[in-house]
């Protein structure tokens, strides 16, 4: 590190830190959906990455249509794309729960295998529909360019945008789970299914909506993802292992833990990759997480429960 001045180092940290923030956003957006599905329902959804990809492709389709319609449409298509991405993935998630997952509750390892199979099929469907090449979304003008904080620090606007989406979504999810009636139902169902049933909660419906919601969030994540990278058939699956580690590392049932661990993992990968090669940064980060999990299997945020 001796070759850098203090000022340069600060700039590096800020900019790498910022690019880490984009990674953090992808991790968190994906992990939030997973944390709901896994943390609340105990289902391992290996096809979660494919839901993100679907959201990204839907965004691509909307942007493609918008560019046909002209400049005004292109400026304002993004909110529409987010809604469409959410709706599309929510619907797919609903169907998957209805026809597959519901038969596999209490067999977590089997859900893992079945959803992995689903992921394979979806990837191939994307490949056949959109081709193997990566698709890039036409970005609205207001997302291009960057904000120059100082001479040396340059922050891209699309990065800021995805950060805002992530924050809004996280807060909304917290509110939904911990402040709404529906959230109470979800938590009641996860903590004691038969009691929740007896209390008049339609647990089947709660499961279905919870799963669909988790998938819908992945769809929004996909929409946001298009602003920082292009989309290919296997885009989502590249992040699935990392994201699972994020969820487990944070302590599966804790949303706050998910946020903190997404931040930690993304930042350490990003900052370390400036000093080492990207692959070694990733190896080091993941290894740290795995070793930590071996020492503290319950994750960072989990309380001692009487059982």
């Amino acid at each position: 590190m001796g070759d850098f001045t203090a000022q340069e180092l600060t700039a590096i940290f800020v900019m790498q830190g910022f690019s880490g923030l984009s990674l953090f956003c992808v991790f968190l957006l994906m992990a939030l959906g997973l944390a709901i599905i896994f943390g609340q329902m105990g289902v391992i959804n290996m096809a979660h990455g494919e839901f993100l990809t679907l959201g990204a492709y839907i965004t691509y389709l909307v942007s493609y249509q918008a560019s046909e319609w002209g400049a005004t449409a292109l400026t304002w298509y993004f909110p529409v794309a987010i809604v469409a991405a959410f709706a599309g993935t929510f619907a797919l998630g609903y169907l998957v729960e209805r026809f597959m997952i519901r038969y596999l509750y209490n067999r977590p390892l089997d859900t893992l295998l079945a959803t992995w199979g689903l992921g394979l099929i979806l990837q191939q469907v994307y490949r056949s529909t959109f081709g193997p090449r990566e698709k890039t979304v036409t970005m609205p003008d207001w997302l291009l360019g960057s904000y120059r904080a100082t001479d040396m620090i340059d922050i891209p606007l699309n990065g800021l945008f995805i950060l805002v989406i992530t924050l809004v979504l996280t807060v909304a999810l917290f509110a939904l789970l911990y402040r709404s009636r529906w959230g109470i139902k979800v938590r009641a169902t996860t903590q004691n299914r038969s009691m929740a049933n007896a209390a008049g909660i339609n647990t089947d419906r709660v499961d279905r909506l919870t799963f669909a919601l988790g998938c819908g969030i992945a769809g929004v994540a996909g929409a946001a993802f298009t602003t920082i990278a292009s989309t290919g058939p296997t885009t989502g699956s590249l992040y699935i292992v990392d994201t699972f580690l994020v969820v487990v590392f944070g302590g599966a049932a804790s949303l706050l833990g998910t946020v903190v661990s997404a931040f930690g993992i993304a930042q350490s990968q990003s900052i370390l990759s400036f000093f080492w090669s990207g692959s070694m940064a990733k190896v080091f980060t993941l290894l740290t997480v795995v070793v930590t999990l071996m020492l503290r299997p319950q994750g960072l945020f989990a309380s001692k429960v009487r059982r």
Binding site: S303, K304, V305, R306
Partner: protein, 246 residues
Amino acid sequence: MSNAMILEVEDLGVSFDGFKAIDALNFYVERNELRVVIGPNGAGKTTLLDLICGKTRATTGKIKFKNKDLTKLSEHQIVHAGVGRKFQTPSIYENLTVRQNLELSSPGGRTVLSSLFFRRTPKLVARIQEIAETIYLVDELDMSAGLLSHGQKQWLEIGMLLIQDPELLMLDEPVAGMSVPEREATAALLNRIKENRAVIVIEHDMDFVKDIGRKVTVLHQGKILAEGPMEKVQSDERVIEVYLGH
């Protein structure tokens, strides 16, 4: 004093996130004694057994079994020391036969290698037969354990402990969910197996307690409320208060 006691629990305490499930508890069991532990829900009865058998780790205090401190041992070492524990819900291996259930519980073949090269001896076969007779399951020996009735599963689990010949046997609500005839059979079973060993039974069913119990310990909020013969405990004002007061 120490010689007559097989189990000495002193100043035992455990807390879960600040909630004291067991609080500064002193509890002694003699050799060849059958002790019944009663108490309202949440009194800490099951937690006490969890602590003795090592499922839960104590925050404070000592558990001495034959003058050996159990709090430092791991679960299987505690079993090797001579403590057997039956769980509240019958926990047996439903995919194996009754015979295999008993055989797996027998001592010997407890390490990886010895279990790989384990051979059934005539002595073990005879022992399994004997246990099966004690627990009324001779005819079911080659039946898959998953097909047993609830009461039979409870007996099978008791049998799985008996085959280890433990010096201290702990039973958590052995008659829960049993019919009246099954309950009577269980009482007879307990009266037979309490020879030559100490037994701790947790029970809610007062009639059953009267059938088997001499000395009763009443737990309440993690502490001992009363201890003594059944008649004395039953007339204790504080016990009546706890059971009937709310």
